[in-house]
């Protein structure tokens, strides 16, 4: 089966972990990795794995996109530079999967809305916390109205790279917006805590939903179990630790996400859930490209 060729922009934690996922894909073929630091470990690793690399930023790869047949780009840099990266890629007819919190394209949580995404050249993966918690919010809101949802993500310090650290406000805004837009809550809030404990703690997520009417405990529990199973198809370490706990109209769910240990060890489930979701989303578009259903058009370049 032929594969769709891809470029990864960003050679940090997320870009590197994503590279491992793409290497296993049956429809995606990572060809280029873009960085900004010639000394970057991520670029060196990518070269070892047979990729072409540039340390000259996105502009370093633009002249090669057509010749190398690149059709999908992944941006794992920062919200501040994403828009420019995306415009440059789109102009060359390259579809963009955005792993920053920039959120200029439609938001995607695969088990919730992958099949319903509108025609677009840019899709946004929200945040690791969004990927880990929105399936739960949706699991409640598809049963009954959710007036307010709040998610708390605890992340191991070693798993959080410079980009995320410099984007915490964007992280919380994008995630809380998505808790409403995709999760289906009327109002949403996202909190993020970085914990440096040794040995590092596994990514934890707590989700609280305030239902409008008294919660239907049996239906909500069944709905949540089904959503958790759907996420487990692409992130096997996605696990319910405690709950659902019902207290008045409050539904509390306590999750953990263990990663596959591709790049960082298994505690960094936040990397896996983000990169696995991005890979799954890109595969859906790749299949459409391969079948001719999706035609990518370059502007005059």
């Amino acid at each position: 089966m032929s594969k769709v060729k891809c470029v990864l922009i960003g050679s940090g934690n997320i870009g590197t972990d994503l590279l491992y996922k793409l290497k296993r894909s049956e429809v995606l073929d990572p060809v280029w990795m873009v960085g900004i630091d010639p000394e970057s470990e991520g670029l060196a690793r990518a070269r070892d794995m047979g990729l072409k690399t540039t340390a000259a930023g996105v502009d370093g790869v633009l002249p090669h996109l057509v010749a190398d047949g690149i059709q999908i780009a992944f941006d794992a840099t920062s919200a501040y530079v994403h828009k420019e990266n995306s415009e440059k890629m789109n102009a060359h007819g390259v579809f963009m999967v955005d792993l920053t919190p920039a959120a200029i394209g439609p938001l995607c949580v695969p088990p919730v809305n992958l099949d319903e995404l509108a025609e677009t050249m840019n899709v946004n993966m929200i945040s690791c916390a969004g990927q880990a918690t929105i399936p739960i919010v949706y699991g409640v809101s598809r049963v009954q109205g959710v007036e307010y949802a709040e998610i708390i993500a605890s992340l191991a310090s070693l798993s959080i790279g410079a980009g995320t650290r410099a984007n915490l406000d964007e992280f919380t805004y994008t995630t809380s917006d998505a808790v409403c837009a995709i999760g289906g809550a009327k109002k949403g809030k996202a909190l993020c805590i970085i914990n440096p404990a040794e040995p590092p703690m596994i990514m934890r997520n707590t989700i609280y939903c305030m239902t409008e009417e008294a919660p239907n405990e049996a239906k909500i529990t069944a709905s949540l179990m089904e959503m958790i199973e759907k996420v487990q198809h692409y992130v096997p370490g996605y696990r319910l630790v405690n709950g659902p706990v019902f207290e008045g109209n409050k539904v509390g769910v306590f999750m953990e996400v263990a990663g596959l240990g591709d790049y960082l060890p298994t505690y960094a489930g936040n990397l896996d859930i983000m990169t696995a979701a991005a890979a799954r989303t890109a595969e859906m578009y790749a299949e459409k490209i391969l079948s001719g259903e999706l035609k990518l058009v370059a502007e005059a370049v």
């Binding site: 650290r165 406000d169 919380t172 909190l191 805590i193 970085i194 404990a197 405690n242």
Partner: protein, 348 residues
């Protein structure tokens, strides 16, 4: 008695009873109480007071509790009665945002503690820069300081200074530090930071060390001390302001605060409104002994009752799991896991 070696030192006392004290009141302080307290502190010459939800900007949540009023309502109640006293807020990146800091500034807030865990200073550069751009007195606030080494904390403090922080705090969120620890940590910061950067100390009285630690901090070079009238704050409370001022008066440390006015305020205004007497009881003592975030106290008490587990056991387990400020959700999670383990054991 001989004259203290600290005679003539100047210290800025920063009161926390309308922020850290919100924790002890489960965020239920009224705007009238806020205004009355602020008036009393202005009258007593307290130079700075912090006024927000206990968890700071963005704190209103299921995780941290919903306050009786919005921060804007609290600031608008307090700002009109202040002349010389500066109003400050707390901002923890990941919870509060720069947009909220801009709103605070528009409501008269002129100083901010930008808080991170003691090892995570690099989540604060945007927020510290934002405080400075607004022209605010901007402090970096390194929480749970005991979970870093003295030299490690000094490195984090240096980062905050490089982002623009004018003061950096050693924050003993768990009330775990002893005076010799405070001396070592503050001295490490003093050696590392520029001479023009101030050092602050924020203590909790869980081991009864609030005042001794604050004096140790002053001796090692701190010039800002967070206190709270009647100690109203999380855990066994903060360093009681009226008692700290009394000790400073005796030692000749200049605070500019009126000790008699503050002890009247503690007795007549603060103690009567406490829901529980903020003191060293077995739960708050456990916080200090095990190095657990002081704000966990009331959550552990409530959930301990709900699930029939002694709060002390829950707090010790949270300490063992190295949970930090902001992980209040993990208290219920931990209680549920402990309950499952205990039921499993009794069934077997």
């Amino acid at each position: 008695m001989s004259k203290s070696d600290l005679h003539g030192r100047k210290v800025i006392c920063h009161d926390m009873c309308l922020r850290d004290g919100m924790h002890a009141k489960k965020e239920q302080i009224t705007t009238d109480q806020m205004r009355t307290f602020a008036e009393a502190m202005e009258h007593a010459g307290v130079p700075m007071i912090q006024v927000t939800h206990g968890a700071g900007l963005g704190g209103n949540s299921l995780q941290h509790g919903f306050a009786l009023h919005s921060n804007e309502e609290y600031w608008d109640a307090v700002a009109p009665v202040l002349n010389n006293t500066v109003m400050s807020v707390l901002l923890i990146p990941g919870l509060g945002t720069m947009d909220e800091l801009r709103v605070a500034h528009a409501h008269g807030v002129r100083s901010v503690h930008i808080a991170t865990h003691s090892t995570e200073a690099d989540t604060s550069p945007q927020h510290i820069a934002c405080g400075r751009e607004l022209g605010m007195d901007t402090s970096g606030f390194l929480m749970m300081a005991h979970l870093n080494t003295a030299s490690g904390l000094a490195e984090e403090a240096k980062k905050m200074e490089s982002y623009g922080a004018q003061t950096v705090y050693v924050t003993d969120s768990a009330g775990y530090m002893l005076p010799e620890d405070v001396t070592e940590y503050v001295a490490a910061l003093r050696d590392t930071l520029d001479a023009g950067t101030e050092i602050g100390f924020h203590g909790h009285n869980n081991l009864g060390m609030g005042i001794a630690n604050s004096i140790a901090a002053v001796r090692a070079g701190a010039s800002r001390i967070d206190c709270s009238v009647a100690g109203l704050g999380a855990g066994a409370g903060n360093t009681p302001l009226e008692a700290f001022v009394a000790v400073c008066d005796r030692m000749g440390i200049e605070t500019g605060c009126d000790m008699f006015a503050l002890m009247d305020m503690a007795e007549e205004l603060v103690f009567p409104m406490m829901d529980h007497i903020v003191r060293i009881d077995r739960s708050s003592l456990t916080l200090g002994y095990a190095g657990v975030y002081s704000t966990f106290l009331l959550h552990a008490n409530r959930l301990g009752e709900k699930y029939g587990i002694p709060p002390r056991d829950i707090l010790l387990e949270l300490g063992r799991k190295k949970m930090i400020g902001g992980q209040e959700d993990m208290i219920e999670d931990t209680a549920l896991s402990m309950l499952r383990d205990r039921e499993g054991q009794s069934a077997a």
